[in-house]
Amino acid sequence: MPTVTMTVNGQQVSRDVDPRTLLVDFIRNELHLTGTHVGCDTSQCGACVVHVDGTSQKACTMLAMQADGCEVATIEGLAKNGELHPMQAAFKEHHGLQCGFCTPGMVMSAVDLVQRNPDPDEHEVREWLEGNICRCTGYHNIVKAIQHAAKEMRG
C-alpha cells in the first residue's frame, strides 16, 4: 500500500493507505478526526468540507493520495487555545446550527468565503453556500452568522 504524508492541523501525519481511500475516510478513520462528516455520496452536501492548502475542498471528492504533501485543516484545528474562531463564535451567537451535522463543513466553507470576500452581502453568502446543505436551520441564521463573523474578522 502506498504511503501518504500530509500536515493536518499543523501536525505531520504519515499512513499506508489503500489507493482508493478518500480524503474524508482518511481523516475520519485513520486520524480519528470525526468532526468532518459524510452526508452524501455525490459531492453535494458539503458536510465534509476541509481546507487543503488554505482553500475549502470537499474531502469526499479527493483521494487521500491527492492530498499527499498538502496542508490540511479540519474543524478540529480551527479553535485556537480553547478560543472559538470568530466564525464558530458567530454560529453560536446567532444560532446558526441545530443538529450540528452540517456545521463543520458549513463553518470551514464560510471561513474560506470570508478569506476571499471580506464583506459578502446576503446574496453573495447565499450563492457561496450552494455547496453546503443544511436541513435544520433554513439557512436564515447561518447567513446572519457568516455576515457577523465577516465583520468581526475584518476587525
Binding site: V38, I75, E93, G100, F101, C134, Y139, H140, N141
Partner: protein
C-alpha cells in the same frame, strides 16, 4: 405579548458541534467491529427465485452473508405497524408482514435482500456486488392514483387497499351541501418527500455473550421505543438485556422514529457472530431508497358556503400512499393526524373525510415533519383561498368570518378534536400588519411595471401536538402509551442531572430543559445537565416527535422538579425545626413562612446525601422520577403569509417576503423557537417549490435517488423570514407550552402555493411548482388567445 421571563440564552450543546467534537453514531467504533452492507432489490416487484451467496462468501475479508432464509430459520419476526386503524366497516387495516430481510418477494427498489459482513467497509461493498439474486419480475405499481387498480402488492390486500377510513358525519355534510349557495372545489397532489436528515442512518449492533446482553448504537429519535419494538415484536429479546444508545443525532424530521430493518439486522447479526460488533452506515442513496418517506396524497376537497362566505360543510376524499410495507406509525398519519385536523381554525359545522390508504411498490411512507397535519393544512387552506377567490371575498376576511372565536374554547370540532385555546384573529392581524397587506396592491402594480407577476398567499394553520393522551390514542388504535418520563437528580454537591426520555437531534433540549430547571431551582443553567439518548441511563421514555418534547417531556421534568421540592420541604422543615406546612419554596430557597429562617436547596441536597441530621421518616437522597401523560393534545396555531414575485420569462419564483406569526404557548428560549420556525418553513418551501420523489411509472425505479436528482432547498433558494409570535399558554400542561417543531412545515406549502396561484391567476398547478411548471403556466396565461 405577556412577559414570560423567556430568555434568549446561547445553546450549551453548540461548542462540541462547532469544534467537531459531536459524537454521532458513525463516530463510534467498537473493538473487533465488522462492517455490514445490504444487498438491495434493484427490482420494484419480483419473486426471489434464489439468492446465491457462495461467491460473496469467498471474497476477501468476508465474515458472513445472511439472507431472509437465515432470519426465518431463527424465528425473526416482522417489523410491526404500531397503530391499528379500523376501517369504515369496522375491520382492522390489512397488515401484511414486513420482514427485515426479504423472504420470497421484493416489493420496492431498495428492499433488503441480503446482508454482507466483512472486515472492512470496502470489502463488504465489494462482496455485496457478488451476491447473485435470481428474480422473476412482476408488474409494479408506484403511482398513488393507480394503486387501487394496479398489480397487487400483497396477497393480503386486494385492490392494494390497506384501509378505507372515514371521519365526521356524512349525512350532515351532504345536507350542508344541499342547502349551499356556493360550492368551491380543489384537486390537490401532496407530493412525496424524502426527509433527508443530513446525517444518514447508522447502527452498530453488539452482543455480549458473557452477560447475554445486547447494545445497539443507533440514529434514533426514541431509543426506548426502538428497544421496545425490537424486543417485543421483532427479535423477541428480554427488554432488560438490551441497551439502545442514540448519541448525537444529525437531524430526524420523523425519519429516525422507526424501528427499521437495518438496525434490527445489525443486532441479530452480532448475535449470530457470537458477539462481533456489526456496523452499518447508510449511503445517501440508501437513505433515498429506504428511509421512510413522507406525504404522498391525492385529494379532492369541496366546501359548501352560504352567500356571505360562511362555511357550511366540507367534504374531503383522499388517497394516501403508504408504500410497499407499513412502517411503525404509517397508518396513523393519514387518519388521526390528518382527518382530525380538517376543521382547521374554522367553525365549519359539518365535515366528512374519507381516506383510502394504498400499498404501492415504493418505499414505506410514515411521519415526516408535521405528519398528516401539513397535508390537512394544505387541503384546508388551499380550499379556503379558493373559496375567497370564487366569491371575490378578501382572503383575510373570509378567514375572519369563519374563525373559532377566543370565547368559544374549549371548542369541539366535527372531526373529534377539542381545541383548548387560541386567538386566531390576533395572529392574522399581526401578520397582516407585518407584511403591510394594505399596500400589497401597490406592490403588485410596481411588479407589473417590471413585467413580473406578484402574488400573496395565506395559511392559517392549526396542529394537534404534544402527542398524546394515552387513553385517547389507545381508544383510536395506538399500540403504545404516549407519556414521557423524567428523572431529576440533585447531586450531593448541588449540581443537577436531568434524565429525560425526550431526544434532542437539533432541537436544543440541553439548553431549553436546563433553562427551565435552572429557573425552577434558582440556579445557573450551566449547573444543570440534560442527559438523553441512552436506555442504560434514562429510566424510560417515548422520545421526540409530534412537537412533544417541551409540552410532554418538559412537563414530566417539571413534575419531577415538584417532587424534589416536596421532599426538600420535609428536609427543610426538620432542619429549620418548623412544620412542613409552614415551609415555602421559591427560586432555590426553602423558608419558614413569615420568618428569615431559610435553607438553600444546595444545603438541602447536601443534607439529603450526608443525612447526619435528617428526619427519620424521610429516605436519604434527592432524586425523583415522574411520568407525565398529557390531558389533551396541544394546539399550536398561527398565520403565515408569503409574497412572491414570478418572472414569467424564466419561471423563477422569488419569495419577496415571508411573515410567520405563531402561537406556541409559553416560550422558554425564543432564539431556539425561531430557529425551529425557520427550518420548518424551509422544508415547507422545499415541498412547494423544489422537492419531489419520482418513481418511474413503468419500471418502478427511483428516479430521484441522490442530491443531483432530488432538489434540496439550498441557501440561495430561500429568503430570510420574519417571525412574530402571539402567546396563549396551553391551559392543561404545567409548562404552558404547545410545541413548535413542525409548524413551519405545516404552514408553509399552502401559503406559498396560494401566493403562486394568486400571481399566476390560475389554480392549475401542483407542488412542486418548479421553474419549468411555473414558466409553462405563465406562458399560457400571457399568450395571446389562439387565433
Amino acid at each position: 405579548m405577556p412577559d414570560t421571563g423567556a430568555q434568549r440564552v446561547l445553546r450549551k450543546e453548540d461548542n462540541r458541534f462547532l469544534t467537531g467534537r459531536g459524537r454521532y453514531t458513525d463516530d463510534f467504533n467498537r473493538q473487533g467491529q465488522a462492517y455490514g452492507v445490504f444487498v438491495r432489490s434493484e427490482m420494484a416487484h419480483a419473486k426471489i427465485k434464489s439468492v446465491d451467496t457462495s461467491q460473496a462468501e469467498q471474497a476477501p475479508g468476508v465474515v458472513a452473508v445472511f439472507t431472509g432464509k437465515d432470519m426465518e430459520a431463527d424465528g425473526v419476526g416482522s417489523l410491526p405497524c404500531g397503530w391499528t386503524v379500523t376501517d369504515r366497516h369496522g375491520n382492522p387495516h390489512k397488515a401484511p408482514p414486513h420482514w427485515p430481510l426479504a423472504r420470497d418477494k421484493v416489493r420496492y427498489v431498495g428492499d433488503q435482500v441480503a446482508f454482507v459482513i466483512a472486515e472492512t467497509d470496502a470489502q463488504a461493498r465489494d462482496a455485496a456486488e457478488l451476491v447473485a439474486v435470481d428474480y422473476e419480475p412482476l408488474d409494479a405499481v408506484v403511482e398513488t392514483g393507480k394503486a387501487l387498480n394496479g398489480p397487487q402488492v400483497h396477497e393480503e390486500a386486494p385492490d392494494n387497499l390497506c384501509f378505507d377510513w372515514e371521519i365526521g358525519d356524512k349525512q350532515a355534510t351532504d345536507d350542508a351541501f344541499a342547502k349551499a349557495d356556493h360550492v368551491s372545489k380543489v384537486e390537490l397532489v401532496n407530493n412525496r418527500l424524502v426527509p433527508n436528515a443530513i446525517e444518514p442512518r447508522a447502527a452498530i449492533g453488539e452482543y455480549d455473550p458473557g452477560g447475554d446482553e445486547y447494545t445497539l448504537y443507533s440514529t434514533s429519535q426514541n431509543p426506548h421505543l426502538l428497544r421496545l419494538i425490537l424486543c417485543a415484536f421483532v427479535l423477541n429479546l428480554p427488554e432488560h438485556k438490551v441497551r439502545v444508545v442514540a448519541p448525537d443525532v444529525g437531524g430526524g424530521f420523523g425519519s429516525k422514529i422507526y424501528c427499521y430493518a437495518e438496525e434490527t439486522t445489525c443486532v441479530w447479526a452480532s448475535k449470530k457472530l457470537d458477539g462481533r460488533p456489526v456496523k452499518w452506515v447508510a449511503t445517501r442513496t440508501e437513505a433515498f431508497q429506504a428511509d421512510a418517506h413522507g406525504r404522498d396524497h391525492i385529494t379532492t376537497a369541496e366546501m359548501a358556503l352560504d352567500k356571505d362566505g360562511k362555511f357550511l360543510g366540507m367534504r374531503v376524499d383522499t388517497i394516501a400512499n403508504l408504500g410497499a410495507y407499513l412502517s411503525n406509525f404509517s397508518t396513523a398519519v393519514p387518519t388521526y393526524l390528518y382527518g382530525t385536523l380538517l376543521a382547521g381554525q374554522y367553525k365549519t359545522p359539518a365535515i366528512h373525510g374519507n381516506v383510502k390508504a394504498v400499498f404501492t411498490n415504493t418505499a414505506p411512507v410514515d411521519a415526516y415533519r408535521g405528519a398528516g397535519r401539513p397535508e390537512a393544512t394544505y387541503v384546508v387552506e388551499r380550499l379556503v383561498e379558493r373559496c375567497a377567490r370564487d366569491l371575490n371575498i378578501d382572503p383575510a376576511e373570509i378567514r375572519r368570518r369563519n374563525f373559532v372565536q377566543p370565547d368559544e374554547f374549549p371548542y369541539q370540532t366535527p372531526v373529534a378534536l377539542t381545541y383548548d385555546s387560541g386567538q386566531y384573529e390576533l395572529a392574522l392581524d399581526e401578520a397582516l400588519k407585518m407584511i403591510d397587506y394594505r399596500n400589497f396592491a401597490q406592490r403588485r402594480q410596481e411588479s407589473e411595471r417590471r413585467g413580473k407577476l406578484r402574488g400573496i398567499g395565506f395559511s392559517a394553520y392549526i396542529e394537534a401536538c404534544g402527542i398524546a393522551p394515552s387513553q385517547v390514542v389507545g381508544a383510536l388504535g395506538a399500540g403504545v402509551g404516549l407519556w414521557e418520563s423524567a428523572q431529576v437528580r440533585f447531586n450531593a454537591t448541588g449540581s443537577i442531572s436531568v434524565f429525560t426520555g425526550s431526544h434532542s437531534h437539533g432541537q436544543g433540549h440541553e439548553t431549553t430543559f436546563a433553562q427551565m430547571v435552572a429557573d425552577k431551582f434558582g440556579t445557573d443553567y450551566n449547573n444543570v445537565d440534560i442527559v438523553h439518548g441512552d436506555t442504560g441511563r434514562i429510566p424510560m421514555g417515548m422520545g421526540t416527535y409530534g412537537s412533544r418534547s417541551l409540552a410532554v417531556g418538559g412537563s414530566a421534568i417539571l413534575r419531577a422538579c415538584d417532587k424534589v421540592v416536596e421532599k426538600g420541604k420535609k428536609i427543610a422543615a426538620h432542619m429549620l425545626e418548623a412544620s412542613v406546612d409552614d415551609i415555602e419554596f421559591d427560586q432555590g430557597t426553602f423558608r419558614v413562612a413569615g420568618t428569615d429562617k431559610q435553607k438553600s436547596i444546595g444545603e438541602i441536597a447536601f443534607a439529603a446525601y450526608v443525612p447526619h441530621d435528617f428526619p427519620q421518616d424521610v429516605e436519604p437522597g434527592l432524586d425523583e422520577t415522574a411520568f407525565y401523560d398529557p390531558a389533551n393534545f396541544t394546539y399550536p396555531s398561527g398565520v403565515h403569509i408569503a409574497e412572491v414575485e414570478i418572472d414569467p420569462d424564466t419561471g423563477e419564483t422569488q419569495i419577496a417576503d415571508w411573515v410567520a406569526v405563531d402561537d406556541f404557548g409559553r416560550v422558554i428560549n425564543p432564539m431556539i423557537v425561531e430557529g425551529q420556525v425557520h427550518g420548518g418553513i424551509a422544508q415547507g418551501v422545499g415541498q412547494a417549490l423544489l422537492e419531489n420523489t419520482v418513481y418511474d411509472p413503468d419500471s418502478g425505479q427511483l428516479v430521484t435517488g441522490s442530491y443531483q436528482d432530488y432538489t434540496m432547498p439550498r441557501a440561495d433558494d430561500l429568503p430570510s423570514f420574519r417571525v412574530g409570535m402571539t402567546e396563549t399558554p396551553c391551559p392543561h400542561n404545567p409548562v404552558g407550552a404547545k410545541g413548535c417543531g413542525e409548524a413551519g412545515a405545516i404552514a408553509a406549502p399552502a401559503a406559498l402555493m396560494n401566493a403562486i396561484t394568486d400571481a399566476l391567476g390560475t389554480e392549475d398547478i401542483q407542488m412542486p411548482a418548479t421553474r419549468e411548471k411555473v414558466w409553462r403556466v405563465a406562458q399560457q396565461r400571457l399568450a395571446p388567445a389562439a387565433e
